[in-house]
């Protein structure tokens, strides 16, 4: 990197990649070539910058200019203006939504102001396919310290003192888990990285693996050394081809540098890592199910105890840690446990990465200290609700979490607080919902997911969730009865108490939290047969307001099923038996003549 005068860092994350109308890297490279600048200026594909809403993103180093929504046709201007003349391309700078001021540097943008990047520290900064880039940013330094100075027990002590808790959902103290595995004597032990990110709406693990794969490898070696394991496995979703590709490149580079293999850094410690592919089963995020799947079986959870730290992969002591947990470890070793413990809240130390999505202005990947409030995340970093609508709820923790509302906005986010208010941290998905979202439909959506993903081994989860789904379906179809609401509550309690694994034990959370926070909405569905959000199609119909209709025929032309009749300049009518309630007519009408009843 050093020999080049200037670097153009192009985000290679999936979000930016998909929003580019063509090959941005190629366009920039060709433009540099045309101006005979290839020797001085380098185009680097990096990991995710996090600000997916404004992608594709290009960052210019060393001056830190942050360009948003860059398309291949802008390459010429970037090179001619910025690279050659040193003038920033105004139109590609981020515009503050209220002050309309152009901001050239990410540190001054609301989206980044409150963020502290530990797990994501290298994403967007290093070239993920270059081990030298990683080493230049203190990479593998922690490994050197651990192998050369600390030894296994001191390493585990640092992990314990740091207060790092598992980032995959459960929040179990990582150091303690390592200690258990170390204490169990065995000739063979295993270290597993859980990269089976199945939580819909969460993509931090993928971003870390795509943007900074070496940090995960380094942490896994440290983990292996600390518990006396010589073999590591990464269990990764087959749906993440780019992450797999970059991980493979990184593994080969680490082997070439002698950081994997025999006698690592002359310490006498042997360690190597292999990859196992997931095949699309949410339950495999549960560590015992994951181990089953790695052994070539159906991913069905087993009863704990024995815990994997006693008997895991191939019946040997096994440590399973999540990608984001691993990404924190090298920094903790480098900067010390007390530094890490000084960030965050009382019982949840450090930061957490959230995938902020849904009806919020700034969708993206963010990392904030534990204890940041939902309000700060949604309204400051997230820039508030899209299209000036009203905030209604925020769903955290994915299918195992719950929907929180206005009254929770000032709750500091950490493991314990989220459980207290009926949700959970989960892997860090955070979906914002507005006034148009029906909470009954949202819980039906999650149940649909759980029913599909239930492995079927235990009946409370297999049958119970199916029944929950059917009740919710009845309610959204307008066939619900008052007693259904009690049934929902009772059944949820039973499923929570009687299920075998974490999936079943948390699957009723979306139902219970929406019933707690939006009970009147459920009541409205069953007693008044109305959906105030206008989302349950069976509970609404579109009608034309005769006095507003001018007979412009716009709605009739737009109707996909031709169910709107009426001559030009005559009042139109919607044939209810044919209407599929797509809402096109309402959207296209300029005279507010279509209404929902």
């Amino acid at each position: 990197m050093a020999k080049h005068k200037m670097n153009l860092m192009v985000c290679g994350g999936t979000g930016c990649y998909a929003s580019a109308k063509g090959d941005l890297v190629k366009a920039l490279s060709e433009e540099l070539e045309a101006n005979d600048l290839s020797g001085e200026v380098q185009v680097i594909t990096t990991g995710c910058f996090g600000f997916c809403e404004k992608g594709p993103i290009v960052k210019v180093l060393p001056d830190n200019t942050f360009y948003v929504e860059v398309q291949p046709e802008d390459a010429e201007q970037i090179v001619k203006e910025h690279v050659i003349k040193g003038r920033k391309v105004e139109k590609l700078l981020y515009k503050h939504p209220h002050t309309k001021e152009r901001i050239s540097d990410s540190v001054h943008m609301d989206f980044y102001k409150k963020q502290i990047r530990i797990a994501l520290r290298n994403c967007g900064i290093v070239d993920p396919e270059s081990i030298d880039d990683y080493i230049a940013r203190e990479g593998y330094q922690a490994l050197g310290t651990v192998l050369g100075e600390l030894g296994p027990q001191k390493t585990i002590d640092i992990m314990k003192e740091s207060g790092l808790r598992g980032r995959g959902g459960g929040g179990f103290p990582a150091g303690l888990k390592w200690q258990f595995a170390k204490n169990n004597p065995s000739d063979e032990k295993y270290v597993v990285c859980n990269a089976d990110e199945g939580d819909p709406g969460a993509f931090m693990d993928r971003s870390i693996l795509e943007g900074d794969p070496h940090t995960v490898i380094e942490a896994m070696i440290i983990n292996g050394y600390a518990i006396h394991a010589n073999e590591g496995l990464v269990y990764i979703r087959a749906e993440y081809p780019l992450a797999i590709k970059r991980l493979k490149i990184a593994l080969n580079q680490a082997r070439e540098y002698g950081l994997l293999g025999k006698d690592i850094l002359g310490s006498g410690f042997d360690f190597d890592i292999q990859i196992r592919y997931g095949a699309g089963a949410f339950v495999c995020g549960e560590e015992t199910a994951l181990i089953q799947s790695m052994e070539g079986e159906r991913g069905e959870p087993t009863v704990k105890p024995p815990f994997p730290a006693e008997s895991g992969y191939r019946g040997k002591p096994t440590n399973v840690n999540n990608v984001e947990t691993y990404a924190n470890i090298p920094v903790i070793i480098n900067k010390g446990a007390s530094w890490f413990a000084s960030i965050g809240s009382k019982n949840s130390k450090g930061t957490k990465v959230f995938a902020l999505a849904g009806k919020v202005n700034n969708v993206g990947l963010i990392e904030v200290p534990m204890g940041t409030t939902l309000r700060e995340v949604i309204f400051e970093i997230g820039g508030g609700i899209k299209d000036g609508k009203k905030f209604k709820a925020v769903q955290t923790g994915g299918p195992s979490g719950g929907c929180l509302t206005h009254k929770h906005l000032d709750t500091p986010i950490d493991y314990d607080n989220l459980i207290k208010v009926g949700s959970m941290m989960g892997s860090g998905g955070m979906i914002v919902m507005d006034e148009d979202d029906c909470m009954v439909s949202v819980s039906k959506f999650y149940l649909d997911f759980t029913v599909e993903e239930s492995c079927g081994k235990c009946s409370p989860c297999r049958i119970g969730n199916k029944r929950l789904y059917e009740i919710l379906e009845r309610i959204t179809d307008g066939k619900g009865k008052k007693e259904d609401l009690d049934k929902l509550r009772n059944l949820s309690t039973v499923i929570k108490e009687a299920s075998l694994c974490g999936l079943g034990q948390t699957s009723p959370n979306p139902v219970m939290s929406t019933m707690d926070n939006f009970y009147e909405e459920y009541e409205q569905h069953v007693t008044d047969k109305k959906c105030a959000a206008g989302s349950c199609k069976s509970l609404m119909s579109y009608h034309i307001i005769a006095e507003n209709c001018v007979g412009c025929t716009a709605c009739a032309r737009k109707c996909p099923v031709n169910c709107i009749t009426g001559e030009k300049k005559q009042v139109h009518e919607i044939k209810q038996d044919l209407c599929i309630k797509c809402g096109n007519c309402m959207e296209v009408c300029k005279f507010n003549a279509v209404t929902i009843i």
């Binding site: 990649y17 993509f203 095949a279 699309g280 969708v363 979202d437 096109n584």
Partner: protein, 163 residues
Amino acid sequence: MSSVKVELHQKDVDKIKAIAKEHHNEPEELINVLHATQEFFGYLPAEVQEIVGEEMNVSAAKVFGVVTFYSFFTMTPMGRYPISICTGTACYVRGAETVLDEFKRQLNVEVGVTTEDGKFSINCLRCVGACGLAPVVMVGDKTYGRVSPDGVKDIIDEYKDAE
């Protein structure tokens, strides 16, 4: 299992054998072998599963159990242009369901089914991690962001006449 009988040529059988051998015929590697096999055949019909079982020293019943457990594996061939609609939460709250309905209506097939001409198939997938572009649709490897029901026709047209 599937009703249509698939006839395998010797070279197909050899290919499966080679894949199994690459993975040391180790039962633990069953899922990795199924990934490689599906990549080659496009899907995993019963006949293929039987040979995989023989090569990996596990029963055909176990192979079938694994194939049907994981959503990534399919026993029916996909369309030449497989359409996947993301139904992750972010896409859902931004209207993925109406987009899915529009695809089903225009192609006149249900989820998991291939059109009669073999061109398109519709599938739902859970979160591709491009939540900033919700709702997201993928056709093959190409990603389409911020898709509205109005845009569905344009996407289909792009592939309709392509060969």
